[in-house]
């Protein structure tokens, strides 16, 4: 059925006609475009007619109470969850709904999970090596060798995330904050066009938070960054543009000041706390 | 072991006058027992191990053989077929046993066969089997199809007037071959093809509802119907239960089984089965003094008043005594000498007659048909007027019709083709050539 729908949609390019790893085309607008997206689990509407656009090079913060659908939204973008209806486009060329997770990742969307997920049985260095942008098919991976330029690149990132000392230790022994950093480092290795960062500062100290804020803002411009965060202080320190999600759809959008004065938003947040 | 051998060498060098027998008295005769004590076959085979141990004990109490004591070497092939071959090799090559009593399933025998032939051992195989085999090194003390299946069918046909046949079996080689033989035999006797129903089930089949219901409707076609069952071991209990529950009594559709003995019945409530049949060469209920003595001995050995005996136990009893006689006759435990000596040896069986070893390494047996009783025993309702000699190669299979086995010189062949007058290159023949 859905096949048929796809074929009859005039505004879609057939998948097989689209160049496989074509660069993201942002000449005609945003880098991420979501429209009319709906998802429900067992009758519970997790995402309800969500519309969202993110511009190229933008740093966007997404906030919202628990159960607002933030993580589900990321799942949709990265291909983990398929929406019931709606469309999700990466640039103007790639329909994300037809692609698998690895495809989406190779298109240039990187994701950091809410719970830091690193490969604990591998060393810090190896974690970054696996994340590195490279030919990720089977045989090339099997015969891959560690070229000096790769090593340099990994070392560079190690320095950025401050884990040079621990490069040969197993990721499993890292502290929570260090894991967060490692995961951000893995994102950097991927050289994505769009970074999806889910609660990057949970469990970080004040200092670490500052550095994270610094890093994320420095990335913006070259890459687009979407940050989901609970910590209002942190959001305030980095945000230029904020979207508030509530019950699966956008409640408000604007600068931090605009949003925090929005009566609806106040109601939702205060109502939550009351 | 090596030290023993050195001592042996030294002794024989020193005292040439000492007779071989006296010297050998130092060493017991080693009897290998190759029966599964664990795994699925343990249920049947454990008692056979105990039987051989009992026979050895008794023989030793009577002074052993040739003045030498017998010693059991027990190994556990764990119902694992490759392990059977390995253990056989262990017995022959490492333990250097003089004879092996063992195996139950056909596949285990097939697995062991090349080893026994290669290492020139002696194997006594105590279970009824499909025939189509005769090895220089194996003695088949269980029934061949012509000692069980065919007389049973004759009984049903002539005494009960059965005209319609269900051949039900577990899907492995013994039922397949037996049913093939029976099918040919029945058709030779003028039974129409549509009056024969053949059904195979997997090992341990436990849900018989459909099949029993099929048998029931097959049996309502107006002709006297009987089931010839080659259903193996474990699957029998649920099969008989289902028969009983679906109300099929022995007077409606009798079932004659070739693999159900006292041992199997001891796991079944036989109340509803009274009158169903089994064909064997021995029943525990046989009225003979040899049998009563054997049962007394067995009860004493196991310490279990309820212990039952069965046909393969009798086969070991016969096989063991034949071996003892053959060793006495040959005056040595040397394998080739015993092989030569054993042909023609005749020992009492437990049914009041004698069993003789034929040149094809099968023995003569009476065929008994028994009805199941409510006490888990069979009562004999019919028996062959005289003993029947086991036929290694069936007359009812196309490939083997012309084959005979005769391990006496000069023929000395397990697959002699009476039409071409040549000896097929069987395994035993090859081994013999190599040995020479």
């Amino acid at each position: 059925m859905s096949m048929l729908e796809q074929l009859t949609h005039r505004d879609r390019v057939f998948d097989f006609l689209a160049p496989v790893a074509s660069p993201v085309d942002v000449r005609h607008g945003p880098i991420l475009y979501m429209e009319g997206v709906n998802v429900s689990f067992d009758g519970f509407k997790a995402i309800n007619n969500l519309n969202l656009t993110v511009d190229d090079g933008e740093l966007r913060c997404i906030i919202g109470p628990n159960g607002a659908g933030k993580t589900t939204m990321m799942d949709i973008i990265t291909g983990k969850t398929r929406p019931d209806t709606g469309s999700v486009w990466f640039g103007s060329r790639h329909n994300l709904l037809t692609k698998s997770e690895p495809d989406i990742a190779s298109l240039g969307i990187g994701r950091k999970f809410q719970k830091p997920t690193v490969f604990e049985a591998l060393t810090v260095f190896e974690n970054l090596e696996l994340a590195m942008a490279a030919d990720k098919r089977i045989l090339p991976t099997l015969t891959a060798i560690m070229k000096p330029e790769y090593r340099d690149r990994i070392n560079e990132v190690l320095e950025t995330i401050g884990l040079q000392q621990l490069r040969d230790r197993l990721a499993g022994i890292l502290s929570h904050g260090q894991k967060q950093w490692l995961e951000i480092g893995m994102l950097l290795m991927q050289k994505p066009r769009l970074l999806l960062v889910d609660e990057p500062v949970a469990g970080m100290t004040e200092q670490e938070m500052e550095r994270t804020a610094e890093l994320l803002t420095s990335l913006a411009g070259k890459q687009s960054v979407v940050v989901v965060e609970h910590d209002m202080g942190f959001v305030r320190s980095i945000a230029r543009h904020v979207t508030v999600l509530h019950q699966g759809s956008v409640l408000a959008e604007g600068t931090m000041d605009q949003v925090s004065n929005d009566p609806e938003v106040i109601k939702v947040y205060l109502g939550e706390e009351a | 072991m090596t030290i023993k051998k050195h001592v042996k060498l030294g002794l024989s060098a020193l005292a040439l006058s000492v007779s071989l027998n006296a010297m050998a008295a130092e060493d017991p005769i080693k009897v290998g027992i190759l029966h599964s004590l664990s795994g699925t076959m343990a249920i049947s085979e454990t008692v056979l191990k105990d039987t051989v141990e009992m026979l050895i004990e008794k023989q030793n109490a009577e002074g052993g053989v040739l003045g030498r004591q017998l010693e059991a070497v027990v190994v556990d092939p764990a119902s694992n077929w490759p392990l059977f071959a390995e253990k056989a090799r262990e017995l022959l090559a490492k333990e250097e046993v003089d004879v092996i009593f063992g195996n139950w399933t056909s596949v285990s025998r097939k697995s062991v066969l090349p080893v026994v032939e290669e290492l020139n051992g002696l194997l006594f195989y105590p279970v009824q089997y499909e025939g189509e085999e005769s090895s220089e090194n194996v003695f088949y003390t269980g029934a061949a199809p012509n000692q069980q299946a065919i007389p049973a069918v004759n009984y049903l046909m002539n005494e009960i007037g059965v005209e319609r046949w269900v051949l039900a079996g577990t899907d492995y080689v013994y039922p397949r071959t037996t049913n093939k033989i029976l099918e040919t035999y029945l058709m030779d006797m003028g039974v129409a093809k549509e009056d024969i129903m053949i059904n195979y089930t997997p090992f341990g089949h436990s849900d018989w509802q459909n099949i029993v219901s099929d048998i029931k409707s097959f049996g309502s076609a107006g002709k006297k119907t009987a089931v010839v069952s080659t259903i193996n071991g474990d699957a029998n209990v649920p099969f008989y239960r289902e028969l009983g529950n679906q109300g099929i009594s022995a007077s409606d559709i009798p079932v004659v089984a070739f693999s159900v003995g006292e041992q199997e019945l001891s796991g079944i409530d036989t109340g509803p089965l009274v009158g169903h049949l089994a064909a064997w060469n021995y029943f525990m209920s046989v009225d003979s003094d040899a049998n009563y003595d054997f049962i007394d001995q067995w009860v004493a050995h196991t310490g279990d008043e309820e212990a039952v005996t069965n046909d393969p136990m009798e086969a070991h009893y016969i096989g063991f005594n034949m071996y003892v006689e053959a060793v006495k006759k040959a005056g040595t435990t040397d394998v080739d000498a015993v092989k030569d000596a054993i042909i023609g040896v005749s020992v009492p069986n437990l049914t009041g007659g004698y069993a003789a070893m034929m040149p094809n390494h099968h023995i003569t047996k009476p065929v008994l048909i028994g009805e199941i009783q409510d006490n888990g025993q069979f009562s004999v309702v019919w028996e062959t007027p005289s003993t029947v000699a086991g036929d290694a190669w069936s007359d009812y299979l196309p490939g083997s019709r012309d084959l005979i086995a005769d391990w006496r010189k000069p023929l000395f062949c397990g697959t002699f083709n009476t039409v071409t007058g040549k000896c097929g290159a069987s395994a035993g023949q090859m081994a013999a050539e190599e040995a020479e």
């Binding site: 990742a105 990187g110 049985a121 591998l122 696996l130 991927q190 | 090349p114 290669e118 090992f203």
Partner: protein, 373 residues
Amino acid sequence: MAVSQNWLLRPFQERSTQIFLGVLFAALVVVTFLHLFMPQDSALHVSAYTVTLLGKYLCYALLAVAVDLVWGYLGILSLGHGAFFALGGYAMGMYLMRQIGDRGTYGDPILPDFMVFLNWGELPWYWLGFDMAWFAFIMVLLAPGILALVFGFLAFRSRVTGVYLSIITQALTFALMLAFFRNEMGFGGNNGLTDFRDILGFNLRTDATRLGLFIATGIALAIGYVICRAIVASKLGRVSIACRDAEARTRFLGYRVERVQLFVFVVSAMLAGVAGALYVPQVGIINPSEFSPLFSIEIVVWVALGGRATLYGAVIGAILVNYAKTVFTGVMPDAWLFMLGGLFVLVTVFLPKGIAGLLKKRQKQPQTQEATA
């Protein structure tokens, strides 16, 4: 440490592999020497019986290595590897059956004995070609390989993982066991294939052939070990571990997890097939009980005992358990299942990393000191 650029040569630079290969080849040489040159009644003589027994252990060891590759490094607990082992065995068995030629009981030049007496008119199509050694040897790899490919493709594509995967691998081998038990299948039913004579023109019933097979198995184990090591030491090996520990994360890094799984699974199945093919001529029989789910579980237990995700641990586990089995079934046949069962329980509870874990713990201490220094 200069890491070799060639992925296949990399293992030879690892100390563990060097030790493993050293020990293995030393064992091969010693056994061969003791078998050939020691007099029969010397205490040091290794009999043909022992050689075959050792050959069997080595087959099991290779099988265990194959299982460890998928379980240890990929996190796929296959309870159906016995199926691949048995398929390899059957491919070899079919070749050996055809080699019997007209020396069978019925003297039929083409049909194996069991077909003759069950009245098969002609050779079924899937038996064609097995009279040629090269074809049979290719099938040893292809038969399990294709099964693994099809099964793995379906399973990994639909992301069947964890316990579910384990259970359906069990269903696979169980279904195959039932199928091969059927006499209509044309694989000899319960009796399987047996009574083999020659392999590549060598008489299987001579000690020289046995020794040859033992050495061949040792070499196959060495090659299999090196292949597995090479995969594990490559970037693909690290991706496998990544799949094992965090499948979703690996996907978001752009790796096609299902293809990684499929590749490793197929390699492992082929290795299992080779192990089966070498096993059959040494034990002299192949029968559907090799498909039994219990056997497959037992393989996993060897690996667990030896130590998961080490490869050499799998070898140690396989040899140890089977040696114990040989000893106990001889020494105390009534009690050996208690020993075996008790061993499994004790190892899983008290030695979660297996024997290899014990070895490693010893090594680790100096290493960590180095690292901190």
